[in-house]
């Protein structure tokens, strides 16, 4: 058994039959089930838990909860490493490995603590003043060094093997916090029959009740209420669960920690679960956080918050001291003093107030506690552990006295935990009677109860909890008659704070306000002197409240000091903005299962599996996985696509075009509808014919293109680009549902229902004739831009003679279920013609040779005229975008418009994105345009490109320079017409 010198022989809420082994910096230690890492370390005698952020000062635990600024650890090993976790909220589990942070070579002996010697240099604004401004370059050099010297734990660059899960849930009443008020609220709503979710970040229910003696009457009450809640089937209790943020519509993000279950990711068990919970009513019972007092060297290990000391004593049975000084400005700390005295600790109470209530005074006397009023701690002695304090009087600089002690408990009052109530934008307001900020109000259907509202008394917490629980349940129609709940018997000391103010001391030694970020009173004074007076400026200049604890112990004290510096009343002050998350949350939990291949949904063509099984290499294109190139054509994309292009130009190839957007347009007004959304005419299109169409946006720029085929008098088959399919569908639904409701048209997306494949090349007709024997596919029956609807073995096919490649080509549409069968049928029946599949890279390259524009050219900034399509626009009808297309600037001669580009330097490469300059230009700045698409041309044996160029084809024949600064390349090229093959279109009409 490993010795735990500070563990009391009895008491606490621990399972002493269940010993747990863990390690600190590799040293084995021992604790019990029910311990936190912090309580177990303290029981093992570890007071020094880290070095401070900037000055590398030795630090111990300040608190016992989520507000902990000092005791941050790196947990786990290897891939499971998790830095900056507060030991005070880490449940002790078997085998836990913890390391202390920010000390080199070790926290015990830290060479970096020489920063202390240059401390005057490290005050607020030091980094900025020294390294930014005129010597900006220096920052680039020093930053990595500074970041290494300052800082917290470090993460690892390895994949986290743990599993994280997300889920969605609903409830009628959500109660956040399971202290007195929260337990009561959950009970009231639960008894009324409402669906209740009670969340508590701790492992146990009880909140502040857990600070009470584990053998006392409060414990009976806590167990009784918990038992009743657990007996109610309509109440869900979630412990180890933090409400991270409050969002619109009563939505709450919860994170549940499950390390105590030792989840096995291989079996699919989640380490953490994030729940998006939608609640019809919310009761905030989030309690309050104790504030430190500010005095020189208030950060020494052994200076702790008073209630935390009481918690370590009563909940975790850790006796921290033989002689304790309890210093306070309110009554609450007396509870700690009394409990310490009862455990035989010699206690001195140092109360800043002039007088205390007689009742407390008598009780202190009975417990042999030395009580000093009008007194305050003005210095702390000891470095790695408190050895004593120097005391003075509050009112003046009377004689100082020294008092030996090994523990200082401090209480600067309590700050209600208003964070969640403020996430929706409701600013907290200051109540001077309790010297604290309380919620400034609640959104509809939301309520507060207990210490959060500033009601620190037991009876008030119960009453408010009851009221809030009942009102919340009533919102869902549950009969909320009053039910009784007697308050627990507590040895309550009351609160009795008078005011909070910072007492300036003429004493050396840093007085810390923000422990985690090493912000002292002096830093705040400097910031004030330099004009950073708004709390938001103060925060950013000093980094106060910007640590992982988000200033839970420091913000209010800083506001008080700032108000005093400005000579204004604190009641007019505002807090900084509270934002989610309430406490730190891992990226793993937030991303849940949306990692790797599941990062976002993937769309697959019905031919996906075929491509994979037959040498197809895939590429991601938006949400789609598409066949990029095939192994038959080469071993790299660069060589294969050229081979595939050659196949289409000289033989016949088959390409998967299933990703095209497909829309079925039906109704008596279908023709009128298409005339409105396309710039060119569709009502005069003959049945059985297809037409290329271009849509404009309302602002007159090109929106999308595609072909639309007239299948009947009132029925059209529209295709869109792959990328814009969803946008086009939403757009036409918008027009039909909000503006053109008189048109009798119905549109249906059939993108997923129909597969598409292109049969392209000089032998395309021959290939299809082999695949569809008996069908007349001659030029007279199925001319260019013709459509044929046929059936093969009962399956409907749509053959449309379209060409994207510029060759003789057919697009074949087939219901998706039959895509693989048809694809394989075409390949096998046309195998005598050496038909092969070709992929997206070849598709995109063939169209560049032909000069067809695609997504890279349609950038939502160019017009029909920019793309050389101006003559397509109808002169005789209205269409979307017609009016704003007439804007004069859209017809300026110097607009960037579509050109072809031919490489003039054999052996050099044109690159997409290259900046274009005229031959005489100096190569700098944004140039006159850029390359949008580039390919090797198998026909011309050189690199060719499409691009946008200022003035466009007015410059045809001129030499230009294509600059690619990222690779310091400049290539000579020439502007040509954007059609590199078959300008008369003889091939596609063959």
């Amino acid at each position: 058994m490993i010795a735990t010198p500070y563990r009391l022989p009895a008491g606490g809420r621990l399972d002493r039959d269940d010993a747990i082994g863990f390690s600190l910096d590799g040293r084995p230690m021992s604790g019990f089930r029910g311990d936190t890492l912090a309580s177990a370390l303290l029981a093992n005698g570890v007071m020094l838990v880290g070095r401070s952020f900037k000055y590398h000062r030795p630090r111990g635990f300040l608190s016992a909860g989520i507000e902990e600024p000092n005791g941050l650890f790196t947990l786990g090993e290897g891939q499971c490493t998790e830095p900056n976790v507060a030991g005070t909220v880490t449940e002790l589990v078997e085998g836990l490995s913890a390391r202390r942070q920010n000390g080199w070579p070790s926290v015990e002996f830290d060479l970096m603590s020489i920063n202390w010697l240059i401390a005057p240099l490290l005050a607020a604004g030091f980094y900025y003043k020294t390294f930014m401004g005129p010597t900006r370059g220096a920052w680039m050099f020093y930053e990595p060094l500074i970041r290494r010297a300052a800082g917290l734990g470090r993460g690892v660059h390895q994949r986290d093997p743990d599993r994280y899960q997300t889920r969605h849930a609903f409830t009628e009443v959500l109660v956040i916090g399971a202290g007195l008020a929260g337990l009561t609220a959950a009970l009231a709503a639960g008894r009324a029959g409402a669906r209740v979710v009670l969340v508590e970040q701790d492992t146990l229910l009880g909140g502040g009740l857990l600070l009470e003696d584990a053998a006392g009457p409060a414990e009976d009450w806590r167990r009784r209420v918990e038992a009743e809640l657990q007996s109610l089937p309509n109440v869900d209790i979630l412990t180890r669960t933090t409400a991270l943020g409050l969002y619109d519509g009563g939505t709450v993000a919860l994170v549940e920690r499950r390390d105590h279950l030792q989840p096995d990711s291989a079996c699919g068990e989640a380490r953490q679960i994030v729940t998006t919970l939608r609640a019809r009513a919310i009761v905030y019972a989030t309690g309050a956080t104790e504030r430190p007092l500010i005095f020189p060297n208030n950060d020494r290990p052994g200076v702790m918050l008073a209630a935390a000391v009481r918690g370590y004593l009563n909940r975790f049975a850790v006796g921290l001291a033989k002689r304790a000084v309890v210093t306070t400005n309110n009554d609450s700390a007396y509870a700690t003093a009394f409990d310490l005295a009862r455990h035989g600790v010699a206690v001195t109470v140092v109360d800043q107030r002039n007088a205390v209530r007689r009742e407390l005074e008598n009780k202190a006397k009975a417990l042999k506690i030395e009580l000093r009023t009008d007194a305050t701690v003005i210095d702390v002695l000891g470095t790695k552990r408190v050895t004593g304090v120097v005391l003075g009087s509050t009112s003046g600089e009377a004689q100082l006295s020294k008092s030996d002690c090994d523990l200082v408990c401090m209480s600067g009052g309590w700050s209600p935990t208003v964070h969640l109530t403020a996430h929706g934008g409701i600013k907290p307001h200051y109540r001077s009677d309790i010297a604290a900020f309380v919620p400034g109000g609640y959104a509809e259907g939301q309520f507060g109860a207990g210490a959060l509202t500033g009601s620190f008394a037991v009876a008030a917490a119960i009453r408010e909890g009851m009221d809030a629980g009942r009102t919340a349940a009533a919102r869902s129609g549950h009969d909320a008659r009053a039910s009784e709940l007697a308050p627990p018997v507590l040895d309550s000391t009351g609160y009795g704070i008078e005011s909070i103010c910072h007492l300036p001391r003429k004493r050396n030694g840093k007085a810390f306000v923000d422990f985690q970020n090493d912000v002292t009173v002096k830093d705040l004074t400097i910031a004030h002197q330099e004009g950073y007076q708004s709390v938001e400026h103060l925060k950013r200049y000093t980094t106060l409240g910007m640590g992982t604890d988000q200033g839970k112990t420091s913000n209010i004290n800083a506001l008080v000091i700032e108000a005093q510096s400005r000579g204004v009343d604190i009641s007019g002050a505002t807090t900084t903005t509270f934002r989610p998350p309430f406490t730190p949350v891992s990226f793993g939990a937030l991303s849940g299962r949306s990692v790797g291949k599941d990062f976002r949904p993937t769309r697959r063509s019905p031919l996906h599996d075929w491509h994979l099984a037959h040498g197809g290499e895939l590429i991601q294109a938006g949400p789609w996985m598409r066949a990029w190139w095939y192994r038959w054509a080469g071993s790299t994309a660069q060589s294969a696509y050229i081979e595939e292009m050659r196949l289409v130009r000289t033989g016949v190839g088959l390409a998967d075009a299933s990703t095209l957007g497909k829309i079925d347009v039906q109704g008596p007004d279908a023709a009128e509808f298409l005339d409105r959304i396309y710039a060119n005419n569709f009502s005069k299109l003959q049945i059985g014919k297809a037409r290329y169409g271009v849509m404009l946006a309302d602002d007159g720029t090109v929106f999308d293109d595609g072909t639309t085929t007239r299948l009947g008098e009132t029925r059209y088959f529209m295709t869109t680009t792959t990328a814009q399919a969803g946008e086009v569908m939403s757009w036409i639904e918008f027009l039909l549902q909000t503006a053109w409701t008189d048109l009798k048209v119905h549109v249906t997306s059939i993108t997923d229902e129909w597969a598409a494949m292109a049969v392209a090349g000089p032998r395309a007709r021959a290939a299809l004739e082999l695949a569809l024997p008996g069908e007349d596919l001659s030029d007279s029956k199925l001319p260019y831009m013709g459509c044929l609807e046929i059936k093969i073995e009962g399956v409907p096919l749509r053959l449309i003679r379209l060409s994207f490649s510029g060759e003789l080509a057919f697009e074949v549409y087939v219901p998706a279920d039959h895509a693989v069968a048809l694809w394989e049928h075409i390949l096998s029946s046309a195998s005598p013609l050496d038909i092969k599949p070709y992929g997206l890279e070849a598709v995109a390259s063939l169209r560049i040779e032909k000069g067809h524009v695609a997504g890279l050219e349609l950038d939502h900034r160019n017009t029909l005229d920019d793309l050389g399509l101006g003559r397509m626009a109808s002169e005789t009808k209205a269409y979307v975008g017609r009016e704003l297309r007439q804007r004069p600037m859209l017809h300026a001669p110097q607009r960037w418009s579509l050109v072809g580009i031919e490489c003039l330097e054999p052996g050099k490469t044109l690159r997409g994105g290259s900046i274009l300059f005229a031959g005489t230009d100096k190569i700098e700045g944004h140039g006159r345009g850029y390359i949008t698409s580039v390919t090797w041309s198998t026909e011309l044996n050189k690199f060719i490109a499409l691009g946008l160029y200022q003035g466009g084809l007015q410059h045809a024949g001129e030499d230009i320079v294509c600059a690619y600064p990222l690779k310091a390349e400049q290539v000579k090229a020439r502007i040509v017409a954007p059609m590199f093959i078959d300008p008369k279109g003889e091939r596609l009409r063959a």
Binding site: Y247, D248, G249, G250, T251, T276, R278, G424, G425, E444, R676, D698, D699, S730, E733, F734, Q737, T738, A739, W740, T741, D742, A878, E883, L884, Q886, R887
Partner: protein
């Protein structure tokens, strides 16, 4: 999370919807040749703080375009109706 009560599908997370702008702007009648009217419609927007009527489409639900009352300052949502129903009612009153 904003929750939108779709008249056809019930109350859903806003992530099922897409936003479509100010619903009180009247689209000029199709074919209106008035450049100014189109310019106002496409480019000139109010940016109100407070009550706002706006288009939302239930993209992964019924695909209907809706008109939702939402307070831009508090994100409180009010009545949500089918845009088609409102447009038809407007047509009827014009007749």
């Amino acid at each position: 999370m904003l929750r939108i009560a779709c008249p056809l599908c019930g109350e859903r997370d806003y992530t099922e919807f897409r936003y479509g702008g100010d619903a009180d702007k009247r689209r000029p009648l199709h074919g209106t040749a008035d450049l100014k009217a189109w310019d106002d419609y496409v480019f000139v927007f109010d940016n109100p703080k407070g009550p706002h009527r706006e288009f939302w489409q239930h993209v992964v639900g019924c695909r209907q375009w809706l008109i939702l009352e939402r307070d831009t300052a508090t994100n409180a949502v009010g009545v949500c109706e089918l845009a088609r129903a409102l447009a038809n009612a407007r047509e009827d009153s014009r007749r």
